[in-house]
C-alpha cells in the first residue's frame, strides 16, 4: 500500500483530493489529507461582505462535506516536512510517511510583517478583507462610517487574487454613491506597482475607470510602516499618505511549516516548476495553488486549471513516465466594477489579457475586458459552481489550457498582446 499525502484542504487541496480519489486504485493507494481548520471558506465571497452583499453564511461550509468516502482526514497543524525521509511531522506528534506529497497550504496574510499595521488602530480604523473576521469587522465599520479619507493599500506583491483590492475600490465607490455620501469620501488606491493592474495591457484598456470613478491612484508606493498617531502610511522612501479608514492587503506568505522545513523562498512559497508543478529538487513533491512560487496569479481559477494538469503528471510520475502535462499559467478573473457590472479577463504566462468574447457552454459568451451586467452575473453564479462542481473535482465547461477562441486577434492586437510569437501560432492552430 502506498501513501498519497495532501497538505491543506482549501480550494486546491480539496479539488486534488477528489480527483486523485477517483484516479487512484483504492487497493494500491491510501489517501490522507491534513488541515487544522474544519471550515471551508469561499474566499472570493469575502469581497462582498464589507458591503453587506454577502454574509457569513454565503461563504462557509464544513470541509468534510467535500471529502469523498474512504479518505483519511487529520485535523491538526503541520509542523515539518522531512523530504529526505519522505515524512511529515504533525504538531500533535504524529509522523506520516508518504510516497507522494501534494503541498496545497496556500497563502495567508501576515500583517505582523509591517511595522505599526497591527497597532492600536487595527480593527478600529485599519481593516483587512482577506479573512472572514476582517471582512465582517469592516462591514460593521462601513455601516456607520460617515466619510473621510479611505485608503486601499497593497503592502507588497505577490498577493492572493491581485484584482481583489481594485474590485474593493470599485465596489466602495458604488456603495458610497448608493448611500448618498460619495462626495464625502476621498478614495485613494495605493499600490507598490507602477499602475493599478498587474497586467500592463489591462491597465491600458481599463485604467481610465479609476479616473472615471474618482479614485486616485498612488503608484510605486512601497509601504514601510503605519504611523498610528499621525494616521498615515509611510513608504520606505518617506512618502506619506493620510487616512481616516485604511483597508489593507497585508504581505502574503506561505505556511510557516514551509519555512521550518526549508522548502520555501523568502515568503515561504515553494519553488516549483511552472509547467510540471513539481517542487524544485524534490521529485515526489508537487505543489498546487497559492503555495507555489510560479509566476501567475494566486487565485482559485488558477488552482482549478492546474488541478487537471497535476492529476495527469502524478499519474505519469506513478507510471515512471516523463511529466508530459504542461501548465500554461492560465488565469481567469471576473473583476467586479460596482452597480451590478463586472469585467472579465483571461490570460496565461505568454498571452496578455485580450478583448473579445469568452465562450462558456450554456451561459456564455462573456465579454472580455468590457464592463457588463452578464459578467457580474457570471461572478455570482460562480459561487454555485464552486460549491457544487469545482471543489468536488467535477468538470467545468472550460478546459485547463487558455484558448484564443473568441478573442479578438486583429493585426494590431497580435503585435500588442502576444508576447511570444510561437505561442500564438500554437494557440491559433487549435
Amino acid at each position: 500500500m502506498k501513501n498519497l499525502l495532501i497538505l491543506g484542504a482549501g480550494t486546491a487541496g480539496t479539488m486534488m483530493l477528489n480527483k486523485m480519489h477517483k484516479a487512484l486504485l483504492p487497493d494500491k493507494w491510501r489517501i490522507t489529507i491534513v488541515d487544522n481548520v474544519e471550515t471551508h471558506y469561499y474566499q472570493p465571497g469575502f469581497l462582498f461582505i464589507p458591503f453587506g452583499i454577502y454574509t457569513e453564511k454565503d461563504v462557509v461550509k464544513p470541509k468534510k462535506d467535500f471529502f469523498p468516502e474512504g479518505v483519511n482526514v487529520i485535523n491538526t497543524e503541520i509542523w515539518k516536512v522531512l523530504p529526505e525521509f519522505n515524512k511529515v511531522h504533525l504538531a500533535s506528534g504524529i509522523i506520516l510517511d508518504y510516497d507522494l506529497l501534494i503541498i496545497a497550504t496556500g497563502s495567508r496574510i501576515a500583517p505582523e510583517e509591517t511595522e505599526g499595521l497591527t497597532g492600536k488602530l487595527w480593527k478600529k480604523d485599519i481593516f483587512d478583507f482577506y479573512t472572514l473576521d476582517g471582512a465582517k469587522a469592516l462591514a460593521e465599520k462601513l455601516k456607520n462610517w460617515e466619510g473621510g479619507k479611505l485608503v486601499i493599500n497593497i503592502t507588497e506583491m505577490p498577493i492572493k487574487c491581485p484584482v481583489a483590492p481594485l474590485e474593493f475600490a470599485f465596489l466602495a465607490d458604488a456603495f458610497f454613491e448608493d448611500k448618498g455620501i460619495r462626495e464625502k469620501v476621498h478614495i485613494q488606491y495605493v499600490t507598490p506597482l507602477a499602475e493599478a493592474f498587474t497586467k500592463h495591457k489591462s491597465a491600458e484598456i481599463l485604467g481610465h475607470y479609476l479616473e472615471d470613478k474618482g479614485i486616485e491612484l498612488v503608484a510605486e508606493f512601497n509601504t514601510g510602516r503605519i504611523d498610528n498617531d499621525g494616521k498615515k502610511l509611510v513608504s520606505w522612501d518617506e512618502r506619506e499618505v493620510e487616512f481616516d479608514l485604511l483597508v489593507t492587503v497585508p504581505t502574503n506568505k506561505g505556511a510557516d511549516y514551509i519555512e521550518t522545513s526549508g522548502l520555501g523562498d523568502e515568503l515561504n512559497f515553494v519553488p516549483t516548476d511552472k509547467h510540471t508543478l513539481q517542487a524544485t529538487g524534490h521529485e515526489n513533491i508537487f505543489v498546487i495553488g497559492d503555495a507555489s512560487n510560479i509566476p501567475t496569479s494566486k487565485a482559485g481559477s488558477v488552482a482549478h486549471f492546474e488541478s487537471e494538469i497535476l492529476k495527469e503528471n502524478i499519474i505519469h510520475y506513478i507510471n515512471a513516465e516523463p511529466l508530459k502535462a504542461k501548465f500554461d499559467g492560465h488565469a481567469n478573473c471576473f473583476i467586479e466594477s460596482g452597480h451590478g457590472k463586472a469585467f472579465l479577463i483571461d490570460f496565461n504566462y505568454d498571452v496578455e489579457p485580450l478583448p473579445g468574447n469568452f465562450p462558456f457552454a450554456h451561459l456564455g459568451p462573456f465579454k472580455l475586458l468590457k464592463e457588463t451586467k452578464m459578467n457580474h452575473l457570471g461572478k455570482l453564479m460562480f459561487k454555485w459552481a464552486y460549491w457544487n462542481l469545482l471543489l468536488k473535482g467535477k468538470e467545468l465547461p472550460m478546459g485547463s489550457d487558455m484558448s484564443l477562441k473568441g478573442k479578438i486577434l486583429d493585426e494590431k492586437f497580435k503585435d500588442i498582446f502576444i508576447t511570444d510569437k510561437q505561442q500564438l501560432s500554437k494557440l491559433s492552430g487549435e
Partner: protein
C-alpha cells in the same frame, strides 16, 4: 535575457539595450559603466554599499535568471530595506537592476 532593440553609447562603446533601456549583455557591464548608468538615474556617486547590492544582484541573476525581490535582497545582501531605499531612492529594485546591467526585474503578476 531580454531582447535588444537598440544600442546606446556609454564611455565610447556601443552597447545593446532592451526596450527599458537596460543593458542586454551581462558581459558588457563593468564598474565604470555602472557609474555612468547611475548618473542617468540621479545617483552621482556609487559607494561600497551600492556595489554590495549591485554585486549581490548580479550573483543572484547569474544563478536564477531573474533579479532578486526586494525582500530576498534585504534578507541576504547585508543591506536592510531602509538602507536600500536610501541608496537607490524611488523604485530601488528597477533602478538597482538597471545600474547592475540587468533587465528590469520580472516582478509580480
Amino acid at each position: 535575457m531580454s531582447t535588444a532593440v537598440g544600442v546606446k553609447e556609454i564611455l565610447g562603446k556601443n552597447l545593446a539595450i532592451d526596450a527599458d533601456s537596460n543593458l542586454v549583455n551581462l558581459s558588457d557591464w563593468n564598474e565604470e559603466i555602472a557609474k555612468e548608468l547611475a548618473k542617468e538615474e540621479g545617483i552621482n556617486e556609487l559607494t561600497e554599499k551600492h556595489f554590495q547590492v549591485i554585486n549581490y544582484m548580479r550573483k543572484v541573476f547569474s544563478e536564477t535568471g531573474d533579479a532578486p525581490s526586494i525582500r530576498k535582497l534585504t534578507k541576504d545582501s547585508g543591506v536592510d530595506t531602509k538602507e536600500f531605499y536610501e541608496l537607490f531612492p524611488k523604485g530601488p529594485a528597477k533602478k538597482a537592476a538597471r545600474i547592475a546591467g540587468l533587465p528590469k526585474p520580472k516582478g509580480c503578476i
